[in-house]
Amino acid sequence: MAGMTEFKTGESNFFTTKFEEILAWSRKYSLFQYPFATACCGMEFMQTASPVYDIARFGAEAPRFSPRQADVLWVVGTISQRQAPVLKRIYEQMTDPKWVVAFGTCASCGGFYDNYTTVPGVDKVIPVDVYIPGCPPRPEAVLDALMLLQEKIQSGASGAPLVVPPREVPKLAQLGVNKRQAIGATAVYPEGTIK
């Protein structure tokens, strides 16, 4: 555990650490989750909770269907414009500290339901801590997201969404990035055309 030092004084051992850290440590391994499951992703959420993947191993077993008892709000699935007020209400009912995970593409950005009825990403309505890509994401991705969230809780950061530590980027993607920087890809539309 971070920032912990062990002292040996002969008969008894004791630890010292910061109060925030012991608090964060205890928080991150006893997350009560509120699965706001609306759509397809709920199926994968079931699988993640099922014996095969068993999210309980990561200290996030107990689902609480009352927002007042929940720490993590999983937004699992598409949020329609009609559903949005409900989601906002539930988020407001949750007690601090609270975290939000956007589960799947629809919750993250609306996915390919970019039309008259779908909210293009729940972060248009409530702040989000961790985004999980995938339509739906594999359970491994969900577990990864949970661990990221735990990192964030331990780090004590709040507000800004967690940025995944950089991983190895494929060569082609790098080329694309460099090229885009080279041509300064800003003007999507020619000057003076309709936006």
């Binding site: 414009q81 009609r82 949005a84 007020p85 906002k88 993250s108 950005c109 609306g110 970019d114 039309n115 008259y116 009825t117 779908t118 909210v119 293009p120 990403g121 972060d123 248009k124 309505v125 409530i126 702040p127 989000v128 985004y131 800004a160 969404p161």
Partner: protein, 224 residues
């Protein structure tokens, strides 16, 4: 099986049957909106069409004003013989249709959906409310002239700089680049360059190589 039903209908209503169609084995008849309930009741009571399958509508804005804009179809099934027929009628924009929920209770939600999506009211419906969209929603999304990307949020989007960065679409953005731009098409200026794609927006086959044949004079612009 269903052919027999169609012929029975023919003999019962005669000229009431405006059109018969059996494309790919789907037997359907078109009737006048005034016969809507009469034919439905006859089918249920005399022809044993007791299994209600579906009721929906189709929007043909380009048919106006010569022909009514909407087609409403109801699909039925006879449980004993498993014969199926489809009955269709045409409804003006703004005109209403008598409800079938008195004939088959299953038509209740289907008619609410048609009202919600197309704006076709049904007379005598027990409670004609929106069912898929919310009451504050303006317009009827499945009409061809409703732009698919026009969202009407109930909750104001958060105004944080990061949101714009994270979420790709704003309220009025979305899927603007459909293969058919209906606003422009109804305005007459949606011709496709590629002759074979021109078919996709329902344009006539190119005859000479200047591929889209608008005729010699262009009709005056409908709206500026």
């Amino acid at each position: 099986m269903s052919k027999a039903v169609i012929s029975k209908l023919q003999s019962e209503f005669g000229d009431g049957i405006l059109e018969k169609n059996a494309f790919r084995g789907d037997d359907e008849v078109r009737i006048a909106a005034s016969d809507w309930v009469k034919v439905a009741t006859y089918l249920r009571d005399e022809q044993g069409m007791d299994h209600f399958i579906d009721l929906t509508a189709i929007d043909y804005p380009e048919r106006e004003p010569e022909e009514p804009r909407f087609d409403v179809t109801v699909s039925l099934r006879n449980h004993d013989t498993s014969a199926r027929v489809r009955v269709r009628t045409r409804v003006e924009d703004g005109a209403s249709l008598p409800t079938l929920s008195t004939v088959w209770s299953g038509a209740n939600w289907a008619e609410r959906e048609v009202w919600d999506m197309f704006g076709i009211p049904f007379e005598g419906h027990p409670d004609l409310r929106r069912i898929l969209m919310y009451d504050q929603f303006e317009g009827h999304p499945l009409r061809k002239d409703y732009p698919i990307q026009r969202a009407q949020p109930l909750v104001a989007y958060r105004d944080v700089p990061r949101v714009a960065k994270l979420a790709p679409f704003g309220v009025e953005e979305g899927q603007p680049f459909a293969r058919i731009d209906w606003a422009a098409r109804l305005d007459g200026a949606d011709a496709q360059v590629s002759p074979s794609i021109a078919l996709q927006s329902g344009q006539r086959r190119a005859l000479s190589d200047s591929d889209i044949h608008h005729g010699d004079a262009v009709a005056p612009a409908s709206e500026e």
